[in-house]
């Protein structure tokens, strides 16, 4: 019988160790590598002596010499096998730059060893490391209570520390904690039982790593990031990428995002022949039928359950650059295979990783962590980081230095790009607005007849034009001559009048315009309806406020006189009510200021809205 070829371990497990050199971390890692047989004899022979045994810490402290030479230490990767598992251990020796390095190492980790000195117990540092693990989605923790020899192997001490840690870990969402009392220096409970701790009957560290349950990712719908399109000759067009969730099969219905176009998988092409099935983590090339348009940065998703597409997110951000984060500045955002312009639209707060405290902050400096909202230049397909690391984790690249300035984890979309799933989105309202280099807005002028709404609105529109902003004016009288000429002045007709105008204004904002609506619009409820019809922040209510006497005294069109004479019914202010706004975005005292002064204030409001809503 021919023996089966040795194809090596079955499962790749990424591991991170948290703790300081003082906790015996280097010794523990050295011991693990040694016990796993990952250290060649020529390296063991070179180890210095420590109490009659080779000093294992030197296996990993080789970098300390480099540190003295001023060489940056960040993340070092080491490899060892236990049973059917290959471990890729990411070790972060530095104290300086610690957050950045640990976040980098934790970003791919399946499992963490958190090291605690039995004499010291859970420290601020332990809590900081654990918070970072929770933030980066490392859910499984092995708590190694080390240096047990220095507390006489005390069971009570071990249990007190474990209880303390578990209570804290639960608060931050780390519920999968296995605790082991170890003595790395002598190897106690690393690869074999420690005679000084007969009370401990659990697994040693190696057994724990070999057997710890790493839950299969819950069955997820298929997603593939598109890295490129392969077109070697006219008869072949393949989409090359990596499957980041679920599995792909020929015949499966898929949707290309963000376009929303549908297709089926035709073949899964590899150098080794076509595949019947390809699963998460694999790099493949698909052909699609029909041969629809796909490009780098797209996501191919199971048609039955496509992910969300959005251009605004709330996300945690870890800052990694010496140049502080500047909200409002444009960075390159890389998510999957897509690179796109993005700005931090709002920095909500900074997180103190030592305490979990949230602090207001205008910026993030190196190693700071914050919660923020981001606005992207175009919609992208994504999943929350908690659902999929590859579709929810992104980096920000400084456009000037090209360094990786920050890393983020998407929590959720703030605003879904509409109509993505039912229908292919070709040109979005964001696209139209971007073309005009502005954010759409509705300036809704309300007030009594004769208050000066149209006069002020006209002046404002002239100013917008002068600034190169694209606008349109909807004036009550004009609209009543066309679109609304079938409506009278009953309350019901007034409501319909406003509903139609609100819909038109909405369409105009979809076109990317700044819409000036100059209507008496006497009822609060209809103005509220109009506001809700618009995107959040796009509706600005401007109350042109004059006393009735002043408006009536002006009576430019002679309407008050007619109403007083009984020739006009349902006239606002005379025999029909005007409900003044409780909290307008701007109130103009039209009796006490000039038209230009009023326009100045409104233009300032427009500028503020453009800045916060992020026109480029």
């Amino acid at each position: 019988m021919v023996p089966l070829p040795d194809t090596g371990p079955k499962e790749l497990v990424r591991l991170i160790t948290c703790g300081s050199v003082d906790d015996g971390k280097s010794t523990l890692i050295g011991r693990l590598l040694f016990d796993a047989g990952a250290i060649p004899t020529d390296q063991i022979a070179a180890l210095p002596d420590l109490d009659g045994a080779p000093d294992m810490s030197f296996l990993v402290d080789g970098l300390s010499a480099e540190r003295e030479q001023g060489i940056t230490i960040d993340v070092a990767y080491r490899f060892f096998d236990i049973g059917e598992r290959r471990f890729v251990l990411a070790d972060t020796p530095g104290h300086e730059q610690y957050t950045r390095n640990m976040v980098t190492a934790a970003s791919t980790a399946d499992l963490a060893i958190v090291l605690v000195d039995a004499r010291k117990g859970v420290l601020t540092q332990t809590r900081r490391h654990s918070r970072l693990l929770a933030l980066l989605g490392v859910r499984r923790v092995v708590l190694a209570v080390n240096k047990m020899d220095l507390v006489e192997g005390s069971q009570a001490r071990f249990e007190a520390i474990v209880e303390d840690y578990r209570a804290f870990a639960r608060q931050i969402g780390l519920t999968d904690v296995t605790a082991i009392p170890t003595c790395a220096r002598t190897g106690g409970n690393v690869s074999s039982a420690d005679g000084r701790m007969p009370w401990y009957s659990g697994p040693d560290l190696m057994t724990c790593l070999r057997t710890v349950h790493l839950a299969e990712a819950a069955p997820a719908p298929m997603r593939m990031t598109v890295q490129g399109v392969s077109r070697p000759h006219a008869d072949f067009r393949g989409v090359a990428g990596r499957i980041v969730a679920g599995s792909a099969r020929p015949g499966a219905s898929v949707r290309i995002l963000p376009s929303g176009v549908s297709a089926r998988i035709d073949r899964i092409v590899t150098l080794d022949g076509d595949l019947d099935d390809a699963g998460a983590g694999q790099s493949v090339t698909l052909t699609l039928t029909p041969d629809v348009d796909v490009s780098r940065g797209n996501l191919i998703a199971a048609a039955r359950a496509p992910p969300e597409v959005a251009d605004q997110f709330e996300a945690h951000l870890v800052w990694m650059s010496e140049r502080p984060l500047l909200p409002g500045r444009s960075y390159w955002l890389k998510l999957g295979a897509e690179t796109i312009g993005a700005r931090i639209s709002d920095l909500k707060h900074k997180v103190n990783v030592d305490t979990g405290e949230m602090l207001a902050a205008p910026t993030l400096a190196l190693n700071d962590i914050g919660l923020c909202t981001l606005a992207l230049d175009a919609p992208v397909a994504f999943e929350p980081y908690a659902v999929n690391r590859d579709l929810g984790g992104f980096i920000l690249i400084d456009r000037m230095t090209n360094e990786t300035a920050g890393a983020g984890m998407i929590r959720f979309a703030l605003r879904r790009a509409a109509n993505i799933h039912p229908q292919a989105l070709t040109v979005s309202r964001a696209d139209r607005a971007a073309l005009k280099r502005q954010s759409p807005l509705v300036l809704w002028f309300t007030g009594l007849s004769g208050a000066g709404k149209s006069t002020i609105a006209n002046r404002v529109e002239q100013r917008l034009l002068a600034e190169g902003l694209h606008s349109v004016m909807l004036d009550g009288d004009n609209v009543r001559h066309g679109l609304n000429r079938d409506l009278g002045f009953t309350d019901a007709d007034r409501v319909e009048n406003i509903r139609r105008v609100a819909e038109v204004a909405r369409l105009m904002t979809d076109a990317g315009l700044i819409v000036l609506v100059s209507f008496i619009s006497p009822f609060r409820e209809e103005r509220r309806m109009a506001r809700e019809r618009m995107e959040p922040g796009e509706f600005l209510e401007i109350f042109i406020d004059v006393p009735l006497e002043v408006a009536e005294a002006r009576d430019v069109k002679g309407l008050y006189a007619k109403a007083r004479a009984g020739q006009l019914s349902h006239f606002t202010g005379i025999d029909s009510p005007y409900e003044a706004p409780d909290a307008p975005d701007l109130r103009i005292d039209a009796a006490g200021c000039s038209v230009d002064e009023a326009a100045d204030r409104i233009i300032a409001l427009v500028h503020a809205a453009q800045a916060t809503r992020g026109a480029d």
Binding site: P5, D6, T7, G8, P9, K10, L12, P40, D42, G62, L63, E66, Q69, I71, T72, D74, V75, A76, Y77, F79, R86, V103, T104, Q227, G228, S230, P232, F236, A240, R242, V269, T270, L271, D272, G273, L275, D276, D277, A278, G279, G281, Q282, S283, V284, T285, R296, M320, W332, K334, L335, A337, R389, D390, G393, I395, I397, T401, N402, E403, T404
Partner: protein
């Protein structure tokens, strides 16, 4: 059929992903190809990454003129088989000065032929990304190397400018003159390379397999006499020994190991049970005047 769902499968998928990212984002990539086992694996992965198209970049061999004769033949065949152009660069200055490992020592020889030669070749080809077969398990200072490693316009490795690599996101954006060295095998260990060669049936030079070869023993190392350029010291005498090579560099600088492993199965077994590290046979690593760290800063691959 299905792809292999094991560690080799994961490492293969990661390497293919890296190749595709760099090709999509860089303008002029090149694959450094010596004909050694790591570059043979690299070439195989590149072919998988772009199949059915050939990899969209050339192969580059920075020749020291002191490679094993068989490697030259193997190198040329492999390029033809892959359908990729092969560029060969020899540092003309080193040639003019007759630089060799015997008269000038391992450091000077390596610096002029390999390090300076590589910089010349990358500049001449205006390559902004060079794929190499280095692995993190090879040498202590490589344990922290990035997968995409940024080099200055002068090809220097500035540790302060290395970028954090989170998830599988690589930042390949470059300032003027900068380039990247890319290591798709970063997370492989030596045994993975051998198991993969076995699984994928990748052709290799026969030097990797045990055979009776003429060697001399010098300073504790077994050196194979690949041509007549080596002058023997008094008392040295060529003898036939059953040896093979774990790595292949310049023949006077690469020690053979005694071995009976003459098949891939036997080599995998031997590497698995080996108790000394792979680069132990590389004279350059033991040269006390220059650590690997320093060589990297100077532009060594």
């Amino acid at each position: 059929m299905r792809l292999h769902d094991d560690v080799l499968g994961s490492l293969e998928a990661e390497a293919i992903h890296i190749f595709r990212e760099v090709v999509a984002e860089c303008e002029r990539p090149v694959l450094l190809f010596s004909g050694g086992k790591d570059s043979a694996v690299l070439l195989h992965l590149a072919r998988k990454a772009f199949f059915p198209a050939p990899p969209p970049f050339p192969l580059l061999h920075v020749d020291t003129t002191w490679k094993f004769r068989e490697m030259y033949a193997f190198r040329d065949q492999a390029a033809v088989a892959a359908g990729m152009p092969l560029l060969v660069h020899r540092n003309p200055d080193a040639g003019a000065d007759g630089i060799n490992p015997f008269d000038h020592g391992a450091s000077v020889h390596t610096d002029l032929w390999k390090t300076q030669g590589l910089k010349q070749a990358l500049d001449a080809g205006r390559f902004d990304a060079a794929f190499g077969g280095a692995r993190r398990d090879e040498e202590k200072s490589r344990a922290k190397e990035r997968i995409v490693s940024v080099r200055t316009a002068a090809h220097g490795w500035d540790p302060k400018r290395q970028r954090p690599e989170l998830w599988s996101l690589y930042n390949t954006r470059l300032n003027d003159g900068e380039s990247v060295r890319v290591f798709p095998l970063s997370n492989w260990i030596e045994l993975d390379v051998w198991r993969y060669i076995q699984r994928e049936n990748i052709a290799l030079p026969s030097l990797y397999f045990a055979a009776d070869r003429p060697v001399i023993e010098r300073d504790g190392a077994l050196l194979m006499l690949d041509d007549d350029r080596m002058s023997l010291r008094p008392g040295e005498q060529a003898q036939m020994r059953r040896v093979r090579f774990r790595t292949l560099g310049c023949w006077p600088l690469t020690a053979a190991v005694e071995s009976e492993a003459d098949t891939l199965e036997a080599v995998v077994r031997e590497v698995r049970d080996a108790s000394v590290s792979e680069r132990q046979g590389r004279a350059i690593d033991h040269d006390p005047s220059a650590s690997m760290e320093r060589k990297k800063r100077e532009g060594y691959f």
